[in-house]
Symmetry: C2
Subunit: 303 residues, 2 copies
């Protein structure tokens, strides 16, 4: 059973803040919705910082580098350091460089956008594919695809230039060599944008999953998987027992926190609704705490 925090009971929020030293936040649906700040989100982050808490931002968005993603914080007036932002693009690059320890003479074939490329570059990982115009065409393969033997990883993220040629090349790398690693930044099926709901990284990944079958599943880096937490821990020290994950999705944020042994707080300003907690088709994932909005934590200062 989740503890339901009551916005009228400021002591509950004060106790929650006391209990955890490190606060991991999902962003969209928690701190903002599209281009609009959630009421009180900025003040709550200020309260946490004033009380000496570590604040980290953990997002599955792999279209943007941390540097680019931070611009969103700047526009909305939220204080954040690039080092506090963990996107699945960055986590994927850290996974390849630090956890897989890809040799310097090996390369990644990228199905993804500029943000993923930027993070790979910053981690010193060589790559081909991605935004290279040679792989962004609506013309299917006109001859047998010639592969680069130095490619040891196929890494897939959300790619708004996805096309048959790029998919065919990625397929050829994975098909022709069982040693080539199959990685994905994240597997979110949809991507909420200001143009409405669009296909997500999981949709871009789906053709390759279909082609390769269940015998060759991708390693998925982003939430809810442990690799994302491993990548964060490769860069930051914190005590899991005194860490809480705040999110709006049960099957990514809350599962991510739970699989990493963190406490979890669900907010109802994004994807998850009361119905997902108590309705007839309720989720089997049960967060430790539930509050209507992150803004509710403001009341802690009155306790």
């Amino acid at each position: 059973m989740s503890v339901r925090l009551d916005p009228q009971n400021s002591q509950q929020y004060a106790d929650l803040i006391d209990k955890y030293d490190t606060w991991l936040f999902d962003c969209d649906g928690v701190l903002w919705k599209g281009d609009t700040l959630v009421d009180g989100a900025k003040e709550v982050l200020d309260i946490l910082r004033k009380r000496g808490k570590n604040v980290l931002f953990v997002t599955n968005n792999a279209t943007k580098s941390r540097r680019n993603y931070k611009k969103k914080f700047d526009v909305l007036g939220i204080q954040a350091d690039v080092d506090e932002v963990f996107g699945s693009a960055y986590a994927s690059a850290v996974y390849v460089s630090t956890i897989m320890k890809l040799p310097q003479d090996k390369k990644v074939f990228v199905v993804g956008m500029g943000g993923l490329e930027e993070e790979l570059r910053e981690e010193g990982v060589s790559f081909i594919g991605g935004t290279d115009p040679a792989f962004n065409t609506l013309t299917p393969p006109s001859e047998r695809i010639v592969t680069d033997p130095s490619v040891a990883v196929v890494l897939v993220g959300l790619d708004m230039s996805i096309n048959y040629y790029k998919l065919s090349v990625a397929m050829r790398y994975l098909h022709s060599n069982p040693e080539v690693a199959f990685l994905a930044s994240n597997a979110d099926s949809t991507y909420p944008s200001d143009k409405g709901l669009l296909p997500g990284a999981g949709a871009v990944l789906a053709p390759l999953r279909t082609v390769l079958g269940d015998a060759r599943p991708p390693t998925i880096i982003g939430k809810p998987n442990r690799h994302m937490l491993d990548a964060i821990k490769a860069k930051h020290n914190f005590d899991s027992k005194r860490t809480i994950m705040v999110g709006d999705r049960l099957n990514t944020d809350i599962e991510f926190g739970q699989s990493g042994g963190l406490a979890t707080l669900l907010v109802l300003t994004g994807i998850a609704s009361e119905d997902d907690l108590t309705g007839p088709n309720r989720s089997s994932t049960i967060p430790d705490f539930v509050t209507p909005s992150i803004g509710d934590l403001r009341s802690a200062v009155q306790a």
Copy 2:
């Protein structure tokens, strides 16, 4: 247990031919491989025709119309009438026009190629999308997608111009209206081409399946599904009990025959191998008859 036909035993083949009046053939892997005829395939078809058998060609290929697909027969010197060729593109068009009975004022949104469009046009079905340049771009949606309220079906086939914009539009049609039918010509994960193995219709379909989830599965027309047989039966009369399906794939051709109550003959000139029948990971699909090659049926004339 399958009956293993023995190429040394001509009587077995003569009996098989006597037993079935209608012969449904898969093409690639059975009659030809890529651009090369399987040895004896042409002679066997001639024998069947001389003995007054109905011969039909049943392929999941939805990139070509029947008219275009027949050109392949012509090039290889195989006698075939357009009316004897059933591709999944044609079967999809017949399904929409004759089985769904789509009203004249409704349209199909096509994710597919010219062959699918040609068959829809021949069946008098209106459509948008497909090869229209407006939907074939590497630029993602720049504003909210405006849908055409007359679209009542999204039909997906192999599309070598697949792109994020077209997928986003298809997603919007399906997402915004639970009444819009979700159809796919076939779900073959790969497409064997003379440029090597490429992603198939199932791979092109995968992003939409991912986005829509298990609650909204597509209706798949092609083999192994019954809809393909229903479409053939809408155009041809035959007695299922005296009909045999000949194919090289257990999970499409043989399952298709079995689900329709037809006899089945597996040839080993294509995808399925001896290992699929007797190896440690053998299939649970057991054809009625197995012969190394369709060419073996030539021996029937000696019996």
